[in-house]
């Protein structure tokens, strides 16, 4: 049976995007007072794991690093069909950049006896660096294929996947164990079911802190993060309507010029 790890991030609900605020000191998003949901692309990663489980059996462990309130997101993953949820939560983990996040996740994943497949969403909807998956692969010393839009061949120890590139895709062959980051094209995530929620009653969420990982506080969280965010600003969305005057040809020329100026063509 495959042992699959899915890494999910609890992100502020995009429906509440207008309420997201930037902490002026840490330059990070304040999210404690916003409802947290599963990062959209991580839902695709979990869905891929669930489909593997249905097709040829698998044990799915979900990892997430976040505040205790991310427990709700873990519970949802279990209700969707994951077997075990492990929440990495410790004040020392706070403020982690992509590298420190990948390092912490890797330390936790290495505590498992055996791992065949690690699945991540391509990016998170808040940070959107796309780095955690590949960096995780480096720490785990596994090959990585990013931007996977299709699992073409998944029988045996060598998998074939489609990896999106600009204007096309690459057909990649990779030997397990491996890390894959997936795009939204890989599948359509299922929705919660009532019976799945009931089954999740018997599944436990374990919380691991710094002590459980046996790591130094210097290598995790803000202290373990080399990234420095110099500034973050709000993007103001303004709508304006302009009536273009002139003949049909003049209107077309003005419109084309404006589109070029705006960088659309």
């Amino acid at each position: 049976m495959l042992s699959i790890v899915v890494c999910v991030k609890a992100v502020p609900d995009p429906k509440e995007a207008d309420k997201i605020r930037i902490d002026p000191v840490t330059k990070s998003l304040t999210r404690l007072d916003l409802p947290l949901v599963i990062n959209s692309l991580d839902q695709n990663a979990l869905e891929a794991a669930l489909q593997f489980k249905e097709r040829f059996g698998a044990h799915i462990t979900v990892f997430s690093m976040g505040p205790p309130s991310a427990g709700n997101v873990m519970k949802e993953c279990l209700a969707l069909g994951a077997d075990v949820g492990i929440l990495l939560s410790d004040p020392a983990f706070a403020g982690a950049d992509a590298l420190a996040t990948a390092f912490t996740l890797a330390q936790a994943i290495e505590k498992l006896d055996e791992v065949d497949v690690v699945l991540c969403g391509r990016a998170s909807s808040d940070g959107a660096t796309e780095w955690v998956g590949p960096e995780l692969a480096i720490f785990l010393e596994m090959p990585v294929v990013s931007m996977v839009s299709e699992f073409v061949e998944t029988e045996g120890p060598c998998w074939q996947v489609k990896s999106d590139i600009e204007n096309g895709y690459r057909l990649m062959q990779v030997e397990l164990p491996a890390v894959f980051t997936v795009t939204q094209d890989v599948n359509t995530p299922r929705t919660l079911s009532f019976s799945g929620i009931i089954k999740a009653r018997k599944k436990e969420i374990t919380t691991w802190g710094l002590v459980d990982l046996g790591e130094s506080a210097q290598s995790v969280g803000l202290k373990g993060s080399p990234t420095i965010v110099s500034d973050l600003t709000y993007i103001e969305s303004k709508r304006a309507c302009q009536i273009i005057e002139g003949t049909l040809e003049e209107k077309a020329d003005i419109l084309v010029a404006k589109l070029v100026e705006a960088g659309f063509i």
Binding site: T191, L192, S193, F194, I197, R201
Partner: protein, 378 residues
């Protein structure tokens, strides 16, 4: 200390119902509105989402959940389609007497199929003589050669043409004081759904008439014992029926509020969104206050029901309040939309029509006041 919060698990149920309503039911609403039909895909959707299994005990293939969970699901479905919530709620109303009054054999025969969605239920009480006075029932039963023969006509029956398992109230042909209920299957000899109604609202919710012409019902399909029919049907309608309407009404209230907030923030008048105008703000505040008050009443009644206590009176209060509030909310939503509120492209026109169908279902507001006043005076 009173805790007004849902459990984490209930919040997940709420989310599951919301996601399902938004993805599986919403795409069918416009065709339901246009045709007054198209109920098949939404019935399939609510069955696949295990909505009909919520209160059925686990030993009979259900989820074994409570009435708070049922109300949460109905509110979320009702927010997207009151017509669908109505069919779901009356489906549950047909299931309830089987849970409460059926023999173990009857439960084993009917409940697993109703839980899985293979079968669908309804209750047939109302007749052309009226629904609020079930004692005026003229559909008769007569025992003959080990079976019961039913004759009569039922009208305004939700799920009349889609329910294959119908709990029917009838009066003894020889004793006008003896009422009994029967589980009638749509394939039984003499059973025929006839006229389909065209309602002002809840279009796409199947409502129609049933003809029982020498309908032969096996003796083992008697539900709850001979002469116990009034108790069987009323016990279900008073809490599950009214409770279901509360769910439909709360969903509609929320839909009205959501649509109004969105429109008020987007509609620019005098150079600013109309949400900045106090006249609009007060309407939104009224809608929110009504919604919160209705929820407190509705979920209070459902939690009493979950404790196994009688909740009919509390549901009468909640049913009166929420269905009246839904009408108020729909009118305010249309008012906020101004001229757009008269255009059928805007959902608020549907909300207004739907709101007027909420009142008479499971007892009019006046009947609710009769019940509440009896409660007060008792």
């Amino acid at each position: 200390m009173i805790d007004f919060t849902f459990t984490e698990e209930q919040e997940l149920f709420q989310k599951a119902a919301r996601e399902h309503a938004e993805t599986q039911i919403a795409p069918h609403v416009s065709v339901m509105e246009e045709t007054g039909r198209n109920w098949e895909p939404v019935i399939k959707a609510i069955c696949e989402a295990e909505m009909m299994a919520i209160t059925i005990p686990e030993e009979y293939g259900g989820l074994g959940l409570g009435y708070v969970e049922r109300l949460l699901a109905l509110e979320e479905i009702g927010r997207i389609s009151v017509a669908t919530a109505m069919m779901m709620q009356v489906g549950g109303l047909g299931i309830e007497p089987i849970i409460k009054f059926a023999t173990d054999e009857q439960k084993k025969k009917y409940l697993p199929g109703l839980a899985s969605g293979e079968h669908f239920a309804t209750v047939a009480v109302t007749e052309p003589t009226g629904g609020s006075d079930p004692r005026g029932c003229r559909t008769t039963y007569k025992k003959q050669n080990g079976s019961y023969i039913l004759n009569g006509r039922k009208c305004f029956i939700t799920n009349s043409h889609i329910a294959d398992t119908q709990v029917v109230l009838a009066v003894d042909d020889d004793n006008p004081e003896a009422f009994s209920t029967f589980i009638v299957e749509s394939g039984m000899e003499g059973f025929k759904p006839t006229h389909i109604e065209h309602k002002v609202g809840m279009r796409g919710c199947n409502t129609g008439e049933i003809e029982l012409k020498n309908c032969k019902v096996p003796a083992e399909n008697l539900l709850g014992g001979e002469g116990k029919g009034m108790r069987v049907s009323m016990a279900s309608i008073s809490d599950v029926g009214r409770g279901g309407m509360v769910g439909c009404a709360m969903g509609l209230q929320k839909a009205c509020l959501d649509a109004s907030v969105k429109f008020a923030n987007e509609r620019i008048l005098y150079g600013k969104p109309i949400s900045r105008l106090q006249a609009i703000q007060f309407k939104l505040a009224d809608m929110k206050i009504d919604l919160d008050a209705g929820r407190l009443l509705g979920y209070r009644a459902a939690s009493i029901q979950d404790k196994g206590e009688r909740s009919g009176n509390e549901f009468a209060v909640a049913k009166y309040y929420t269905t009246e509030a839904a009408q108020r909310a729909a009118k305010m939503a249309v008012d906020i939309h101004g001229g757009y509120g008269c255009m059928e492209e805007y959902a608020v026109t549907r909300y207004l029509r739907d709101s007027y169908v909420l009142g008479p279902s499971a007892g009019t507001s006046d009947i609710m006041k009769v019940i509440v006043s009896r409660w007060v005076l008792s």
